[in-house]
Amino acid sequence: MKLIPGAESALPPGESALHYRPAGLTHDEMLDPDRNVRPAWSRFVSGLREMGPQGLTQRTEQVRHLLRENGVTYNVYGAAKDLDRPWLLDLLPLLMPEAEMKSLAEALKQRLKVLNRLAQDIYGPRTLLQSGLMPAEFLFKHPGYLLPCFGITPPDDVFLNWYAAQLARDKSGRWVVLGDRTQGPSGAGYAVENRVVVSRTLPQDFHSLNVVRVASYFVTLKNSMLRLAARLSDNPRVVLLSPGPRSSRYFEDVYLSRYLGYTLVEGGDLTVRGDGVFLKTLGGLLPVHVILRRLGDLDCDPLDLRPDSHVGVPALAQAARAGRVIVANALGSGFLEAPVVQALLPEFCREFLGEELQLPSIPTWWCGRPADFAYVEANLEELVIRPAFLSRGKSLLGWKLSAQEKADLLARIRAKPARFVGQSPVAGSTAPVWVDGKLQPWNLTLRSFAVYDGKEYQVMPGGLCRVAPDSVLLAESMAAGQRSKDLWVLSDGPVDSVTLLRDSVPALSLRRSTNDLPSRAADHLYWLGRLVERAEAFVRQIRSIVARMTTEVQPPGLAAMRLLVESLCDPGMSPLCVKTIGAPADWSQVRAEVWSFLRDRTRRGSLAKTLEDARGTASVVRDRIAIDSWRILNQMELLPANSPESTEPGRVLLELNQILTLLSAFSGLGAESMTRGPGWRFLDMGRRVERAQQTLRVVRGLLVNAQVELLPRLEAMLEIADSSMTYRYRYLTTLQLAPVLDLVLGDDTNPRAVIYQLVALVDHANQIAAQTGDTNDESPQCRLARELHSEVRLADIEALCEVNGLNDREALATRLDNWLDALRGFSDSVTHAYLTHTVAPRQLTQLLVATTK
């Protein structure tokens, strides 16, 4: 079958758009040098022809839709606003005959054998150094050579439990390793997610082509972790250690922890006691036996490794040294990722195995060796210069340097030659990508994954491809590639019908309660609840203000309006109170205050800031909330403060209503889809505390004053407390203070009333105390909730309505202040009992000289 233009002109017009013309300079995955479709692709290509451009475009849309459904994103470092970027996946998989995958897998196994032996040697007998095969610079200049790990032997002497290789083809079509990933390699989660999406989108092809399944990779990983853990306990606990939500890999951390069923932890969730590792949970310390780490090894332990690490676990290396915890991959294996290792690997392979390295690395010259340096010097235009010891260091492209830049670079290399390698770029192959309604040849790299099964390495019969229109764009990071592709390994015969769905992971033992909720996560959930509820209260209050701002001119009842605006802040804290002492209220000031409170991100306690904080808090507990909830929070965007519409009341009302709808959706999801474990309790407890507090605050701000006209304030009060409808049903339209107060404070059938929140808080406090195994004595937080509840319940509402101060309802003010204090006391007590955790450990003072004698 030919795809050259002449042959295609014979095809119906709809199909000629499948035009695919790789430049012919490099290996193409689909076409051979004569532009014949490679045998592995022929059936698939016929399928594409049948599908036609319309079918391809339609399915591409389907892929995008499925990815969005599944919430697949890729984080780009940094601020919450661009935390999540959609994951882009090309519809067309890369096809590979099973025989090719098998030989690639064999070669990877050999490579892993060598890498493991290398790690054993440098952290043990150092025979390579003794024999002189390993230069001293190679070892002792390498910042990834972790001296504290010297002498620590991992179980079975296996340093690499899981691993990934970044691969590309050279001009001749041979696979070459661009880089080794030895510290919790990323990408396997994406590979599986890609498979789910593409196989659903191209179901016929998937079945007729006998595509080998990839799910076994995670089954093997899980089994191997279980086997490791079984050495330490009959009832082992495995956790996934993540650098946290600021990491670009956090999406996958969450994904893997869910997929594997491991608790996702950050360094602060773990503590070393004795020489064992424990998870800090609400219920106390629970032993941890295996740590599957996605954290770089230098960051793992501020005592033994990098002292300024804030994400590590102090004394983790000690626990590993004592054999009380298994860290996978072993601490110190980051050494193997450095490009300098690739330069010497063929020699090490010969030494260890007496064989040639089957899978070559990207051609690498280490300037620490005079002959290599001479080569780099002579061939600089054709080489990429990279730091020798950093796996993700910045690289310089020799052919892009000016004469002066070249001279400078060579001078830098000459000063510290051991720090640099030169690498000859690998051409990479091209593969068809469906872009803008055409098949285009894009450059491709492949990430291949392996896992140790207890006896040997298993290589995933699939992988993660990254494609980009330009080979230079395809550096090694996943952020660099523009789209991903699935890899289909085609079997000659029918494949095992292991399903790819998630239940192919062995059945988990049933657990009803998740008592291993880390305190950190509980704390964040509690604050998420508070912030979301706070935002809702603000939105309601601002909405009822803006609804009264229909004209530019001063509305009637300015005094009441001013109270309404002032009460956005705690009593006496509004800028209006400060600015206008004695002065008549100025309408423009009141307006300005509303807009500032609504949109000023830099202002503490503003709605904009509250929403931002809620998003930030949610981003750290994404593994604990539904993906949909997270998406809802991300949709809550306010208009920018400088846009002309931002002060146009009608437009603002629309905006506020939208946010309110989203907030309600968030609450609804929480209420409907979270299991009633401790996580939900803390989230809900946060909401209840906040709702009670906000209602008390608004009552305090609006209704204590007895001078200003009451009716508009009562109306606003009911709106803000979302109780207008209930009131009208109950009392028709006569607005009076006592019934309003009763409805928002003491009516326990009104889910907006303060008393209703207190009932819930009493229940939460008791349940959490019971679940976390508190003693029989009533805990302080249970007592505080109970006392506050009975106070509010017994309050004499009629008496509170009396004007007994100078001009104010002072009894009401005093009572409200007491309740607000009690509520704060309750919140502090909860924090103290369950959530104090984030105190960062510090280094001891070090002084050599005696200060006293």
């Binding site: 150094l129 003794q130 002189g132 230069p135 001293a136 610079e137 002792f140 200049k141 001296l147 504290p148 010297f150 002498g151 503590t271 070393v272 006691r273 004795g274 020489d275 501020p302 005592l303 033994d304 102090p314 004394a315 000690q318 040294r321 004592a322 105190v839 960062a840 450990p841 510090r842 280094q843 001891l844 003072t845 070090q846 002084l847 050599l848 000289v849 005696a850 200060t851 006293t852 004698k853």
Partner: protein
């Protein structure tokens, strides 16, 4: 000579410390010229756990953790050590320093390859152009390595002021060069920087200096404190100790605890703690000669 050493470090905190995890490097090495007879470690409050291990340099490290709330932590290492005079090479007969450098760079000899561990930059030792210039005054062409190193030691002793008030442990060597003052670990780091910048191997030594002044002689600086000096690598001999703070070649009056690439590898006590508020630290060291059959 036989010595009894007591080294007590006390940390006091304004708020209780709830968890404290530490490493103590207080146990003297046994090596040519020195035999450790006894070592004991006393920790107050009693730690939840204490375990010894041997680090990559052969030093004995004690890990311990205190897991009950405490306002004060006291760590005392007690040891009994025999110290003998070691024969030294005749400095003027040692190989020219360029030859030593060449041997280290080529890595042909096994001993040289292992000594190279102490030839490169490390967290406290960063290459400095001024260190090179400073060192070259002593390291004239073809000068025997130990002779040149001893000369460098003397110059540091004469040209830098010992001044405990001016530096903390982490004073960068660049700053010591500017101010020309420092304490023992600064001078050790300084001379190590000089030697490594030239391509030689030098290691940091942590230990004690015996306090008893000989009759009529002044008391040596650094007495009754933990002390630090360095050793330079001389092929065929191994490591030659040099004390730039006192301009001496450490012999029977220096008790070695251990060594590393710099202070960070062998600091007497390192730890991480949670809680505590403000912290204050005091150190008390006694080195007392005791009668022994051998002495």
């Amino acid at each position: 000579m036989r010595y009894r050493v007591r080294h007590t470090t006390t940390y006091a905190y304004s708020d209780p410390v709830v968890l404290c995890q530490n490493q103590a490097r207080l146990s003297p090495q046994t090596m040519p010229g020195q035999t450790r007879l006894e070592f004991s470690l006393e920790i107050n409050p009693v730690p939840a756990i204490r375990r010894p291990w041997t680090d990559a340099f052969g030093n004995e490290v004690w890990y311990f953790s205190v897991e009950s709330p405490h306002h004060q932590l006291e760590v005392t290492g007690r040891s009994l050590v025999d110290r003998h005079v070691q024969p030294l090479p005749n400095p003027s007969e040692t190989p020219p320093w360029e030859t030593v450098r060449g041997g280290l760079a080529s890595g042909r000899e096994l001993a040289d390859r292992f000594a190279s561990q102490f030839r490169f930059e490390s967290p406290f030792i960063v290459e400095l152009p001024e260190a090179r210039q400073y060192a070259l005054v002593s390291f004239t062409p073809n000068r025997p390595v130990v002779e040149a190193a001893i000369d460098l030691t003397r110059r540091i002793f004469e040209e830098f002021d010992y001044s405990p008030a001016t530096t903390s442990v982490s004073t960068p060597t660049r700053e010591v060069f500017q101010t020309r003052r420092g304490v023992c670990q600064d001078f050790a780091h300084l001379q190590i920087t000089c030697l490594r910048t030239l391509g030689l191997a030098a290691r940091y030594v942590s230990g004690y200096l015996v306090t008893e002044p000989p009759p009529g002689k002044p008391k040596l600086i650094g007495a009754d404190a933990s002390h630090a000096w360095l050793a330079v690598y001389c092929p065929g001999w191994g490591w030659i100790d040099l004390d730039p703070t006192n301009n001496v070649i450490p012999q029977e009056k220096h008790v070695t605890v251990g060594w590393g690439r710099d202070y960070g590898d062998i600091c007497p006590i390192a730890g991480v703690f949670t809680g505590g508020g403000r912290q204050a630290m005091t150190v008390a060291v006694d080195v007392t000669p005791v009668a022994s059959g051998a002495a």
